[in-house]
């Protein structure tokens, strides 16, 4: 299939949609693997929110592109290099600390992005952002509460959280290398970055987590469809059925 996007708006929304989808898939991996039942349910909830968010965004994108493809085709038929999600959300569930750190770093960013999108000229995007911000409020609070508990809990929980932070932080830099497309749809990208930094720094400092210095990285940008090696296996699993049985309807 030809997955060329004519509109800059759909290219922009695709980045958020793909980020939501891949994070949802990662969280779904946690189903039946949570530290206790209530937490299992909470992670499934967040995953469901993110799948729903991705689906709504794909629908908007498909309409902008005159329905030349369908949301499920965007999910199941594109190859690795045709996905435009943050590398942050591809990172694996090494342990519960990774899950929580990844979620927190994502949610703080997503909160700022969707707050900006309340000013969008596209009324569908505005409506969706209003709904999404309510979901993010819970997910963000949930992640932040856990950062607090893990950071201040035991020596082990602190060190596991610190280790997750140290590994994951290198995927942050690219988030703020905003390009012209981002800047068209996000009116104040500098503020997104400064607010993100302010909150992360404050929360880490309050809960005994160190934000290590990350040297400038030679890492190609997610906006051009570059990924970590974790992406391919994730897609192979996710896309297996529609690719193995291309004539089937599900």
């Amino acid at each position: 299939m030809n997955f060329t996007f004519e509109s800059n708006e759909s290219k922009f929304l695709l980045r958020i949609a793909d980020t939501s989808l891949i994070l949802a898939q990662r969280l779904a991996e946690m189903c039946s693997k949570g530290p206790f039942l209530e937490e299992d349910i909470a992670l499934s909830n967040t995953s469901l929110d993110l799948f729903g968010r991705a689906e709504e965004l794909y629908k908007i994108i498909c309409r902008i592109e005159n329905d030349k493809f369908e949301p499920d085709e965007l999910v199941y038929k594109r190859n690795e290099r045709q996905f435009y999600n943050l590398k942050l959300v591809e990172q694996p569930n090494e342990d519960f600390a990774w899950v929580i750190v990844r979620q927190f770093l994502h949610d703080v960013y997503a909160k700022e992005v969707f707050t900006e999108l309340l000013k969008s000229e596209n009324s569908e995007v505005v409506g969706l952002s209003q709904k999404v911000l309510k979901e993010i409020k819970y997910s963000h609070l949930h992640a932040k509460d856990w950062i607090e508990r893990l950071g201040l809990g035991t020596e082990e929980s602190n060190s596991r959280t610190q280790s997750a932070v140290n590994h994951i932080l290198k995927y942050i830099e690219e988030i703020f290398n905003f390009d012209d497309i981002d800047k068209t749809y996000l009116s104040n990208t500098a503020e997104i970055e400064s607010k993100w930094n302010a909150e992360i720094n404050a929360v880490f400092a309050a809960y005994n987590i160190t934000r290590i210095e990350v040297p400038p990285l030679s890492m190609r940008d997610y906006r051009d469809g570059f990924h970590s090696e974790y992406m391919g296996p994730l897609l192979s699993v996710m896309q297996y059925l529609p690719r193995a049985y291309p004539d089937a309807k599900w």
Binding site: A28, F96, R149, T154, L241, D247, W250
Partner: protein, 309 residues
């Protein structure tokens, strides 16, 4: 004591509900803990065979429906653990019993899910059988258990429809899909029927449970109801029930059926099914790998409580 026992017997006789603070015979309590904890564990272990296809669900809709369904099951487990807790056992104790294999869960979850059609068969047959059993349990004599069943049944009926919807898609889909649907029916039919337990004559806990109205209808009676309801659904799908003796008996109005492989039933119950070890290992791994998380939460709570005081 006699006075208490008389009061308890009167509750049972008048079809009223026994509540957590009421006096109850020790055996009634134990029997309920056994049954409710087994029911709770079944919900939780039952998340695994469906979880096997969650990441491979073939559409955004299918994925969200399946995830919501598995999440419901976690929720059912939560209600049921809470019900059991009203009888004086903790969730931690129940989980320990599960890990030590002192508590059982429904044997059906020891079968592997091999194709996407199994997500259909599990919803249609396994949840379908569970509903027949649970609708009957809405009238169970222990109040918290009965009330939890009302809520659980509402959600289960969605699950069954979700499963049947997949069966419809597959049965009326491509030849390969139909083949998967028939294969799933072949593999799950008999294990689903055995979910109702052994024949009445061989059921160890049945008679006392019936007297106490913990259980309201017999295993064979419930099983027959399920068969009668399910055979026409299979016919609609154009699928063949893997039992050559299935036939509507015009005199009784019920479907006659062949005998089941009870050796397999007992063997799987006794731990020798295809996935018994894997199911338990998965649960243990999630539990023990995450012990540090629970410790962190407790340590945090202890620290913050003491700072408040």
């Amino acid at each position: 004591m006699e006075k208490f026992e008389a009061a308890f017997n009167a509750i049972i006789e008048q079809d009223l509900k026994v509540e957590p603070r009421d006096w109850m015979p020790e055996k009634y309590r134990k029997q309920l803990i056994r049954q409710v904890s087994q029911h709770a564990h079944s919900e939780i272990i039952g998340m695994q065979p469906e979880g096997n296809w969650l990441l491979r669900a073939p559409s955004l809709r299918a994925k969200q429906v399946l995830l919501a369904k598995i999440q419901d099951e976690a929720g059912h487990g939560l209600y049921l653990y809470s019900v059991a807790e009203t009888l004086g056992i903790t969730r931690a104790e129940m989980i320990e019993q599960l890990h030590k294999q002192e508590a059982k869960y429904s044997s059906i979850f020891n079968y592997p899910t091999l194709t996407w059609a199994d997500m259909g068969a599990v919803g249609w047959l396994v949840d379908g059988a569970a509903i027949v059993n649970q609708v009957s349990l809405q009238r169970t004599s222990y109040g918290p258990y009965a009330r939890s069943m009302v809520r659980i049944c509402m959600e289960e009926s969605f699950h069954q429809r979700q499963g049947y919807e997949i069966m419809v898609q597959m049965s009326f889909g491509t030849p390969e899909q139909k083949e998967m649907a028939q294969d799933a029916l072949n593999r799950f039919w008999e294990p689903a029927l055995m979910m109702f337990g052994p024949h009445d004559a061989e059921s160890a806990h049945s008679s006392q449970s019936m007297e106490w109205k913990i259980k309201r209808e017999s295993n064979d009676h419930l099983r027959q109801r399920f068969i009668d309801r399910t055979v026409p659904q299979a016919e609609y799908l154009g699928l063949t029930i893997p039992d050559t003796k299935i036939k509507l008996n015009k005199e009784t109005g019920h479907y006659d059926h062949g005998e089941f492989n009870w050796d397999e039933f007992w063997n799987v119950i006794n731990g020798n099914g295809p996935c018994n070890q894997e199911r338990l290992d998965h649960h243990k791994k999630a539990h023990y790998d995450n012990e540090w998380v629970r410790e962190a939460a407790s340590a945090y709570a202890a620290k913050t409580e003491s700072s408040v005081a």
